[in-house]
């Protein structure tokens, strides 16, 4: 049994923790709103690029472009998107588990599986496990913006063209709702064939300088857009996860405070009772 003083100190300390978790929850909620807006704002650009690529696929020979080349998949790269900060529940753990499952399941399928990591948490985790990490983006970006996605995109494009790898997968948390994130493994390379939808009615564009030239400018951007999308989803998911985790923490703190307060009051009361008994006992003895 703790002393009254220790109990009181404990309650105060939990209260201040609760204040912090509550503030973090509020901050996460605000950031989440902003992150959701960014996902929506990024949509028109991504949709348009996809649309144009579909049209181009009708009028160019896809085999000529090195980014569309398909090779036997021997070496693959996983681009793992994690967070820089913790306190977001099992957000990162889910990613780690998925990556490990992927490695376990595909160890025999591919000759080599290497990782590229965004986010400090991911680097810390995989570093300890001695997995081959080709590069990481920790401390490389001031903020998660299109520039960051372009940097990652350019690196993987280089890997693929230089035949350092034959396939690239993105592993990230998809934002489902503020409460739900789902781990996704999405293939970035080889680029899935962009076939125009059956009811697509082609517009006879005049392409300048040429359809091929435009295709080779658009493809790397398409990769960047996909990375950007994954980054934004991950950021929104992170805030959602943190909000949920901090909400639970605030509630748990509340529960503990109530429990401790009850214990504290009981202890205080029994102390008072004991003191009174002593006084009564003392008075009794004097008689």
């Amino acid at each position: 049994m703790l002393s009254l003083k220790a109990l009181r100190r404990r309650i105060v300390s939990i209260k201040s923790t609760q204040q912090i978790t509550r503030a973090m929850k509020m901050v996460a909620a605000a950031r989440l709103r902003r992150a959701q807006e960014r996902i929506i704002e990024a949509r028109p650009y991504a949709d348009k690029i996809r649309e144009v690529l579909q049209d181009l696929s009708l009028r160019t020979d896809p085999d000529v472009h090195p980014l569309l080349a398909r090779r036997e998949m021997k070496k693959v790269e996983l681009v793992v998107i994690t967070t820089n900060r913790g306190l977001c529940g099992s957000f990162n753990q889910n990613i780690f588990r998925r990556v490990e499952r992927f490695v376990r399941e595909n160890r025999r399928v591919y000759d080599d599986i290497s990782l590229t990591i965004a986010g400090r948490k991911g680097l810390d985790y995989f570093h300890r496990r001695g997995v081959s990490i080709i590069r990481d983006y920790v401390n490389r970006f001031r903020e998660i913006d299109y520039q960051a996605a372009a940097t990652i995109g350019k690196d993987v494009v280089e890997d693929y063209i230089g035949e350092a790898v034959d396939g690239v997968f993105l592993v990230y948390n998809e934002f489902r709702s503020p409460l739900i994130q789902r781990v996704m493994v999405k293939d970035l390379f080889p680029i899935e064939p962009l076939e125009a939808e059956p009811d697509y009615y082609p517009v006879e564009y005049i392409y300048e300088p040429s359809a091929d030239a435009i295709l080779s400018e658009l493809l790397p951007r398409y990769v960047e857009v996909q990375v950007y999308r994954a980054l934004l989803e991950s950021v929104a998911g992170e805030h959602g996860a943190r909000m949920t985790a901090m909400d639970a923490a605030t509630e748990n703190a509340q529960e503990m405070i109530e429990k401790l307060t009850l214990i504290y009051n009981k202890a205080r009361q029994s102390a008072i009772t004991k003191e009174m008994m002593e006084i009564v006992g003392g008075a009794e003895a004097l008689k």
Binding site: Y45, A46, Y205, I206, P209, E217
Partner: protein, 136 residues
Amino acid sequence: MTASFLLEVVTPNRLVLSQDIEEITAPGVEGEFGVLPGHSPFFTTLKVGELMYRAGKEQWYMTVTWGFVEVLPERVTILAEAAELEQEIDVERAQRAKERAEERLKQLSPEEREFYAAMGALERAINRLTVASRRS
């Protein structure tokens, strides 16, 4: 009624502009080109430069930094890596960027990769300043 078409400028971060206009002049890779309503479908890439758009007697400018234009008879869509309206440009920042790029260019030789990065930065800064100076 005067003929007009919809101009939309989209960057990865946001929809910069969506407005009915009557004419644009854009910096294509093969040279500057103009579009009036009813243009035949056309698709090209853009370089760093200024985009002029006009409705009635008013005309505006904006910067575009690389991108693509899709021209349809009743709609023009510009997908740019970056775009800024003339009133959004931070002149001081552009001026500083220009000086920094010039400084770097003096120290680098054209064989270095950095040289081209600096050239690009200079080009963008000058473009921003040009567009900003259109502001009356």
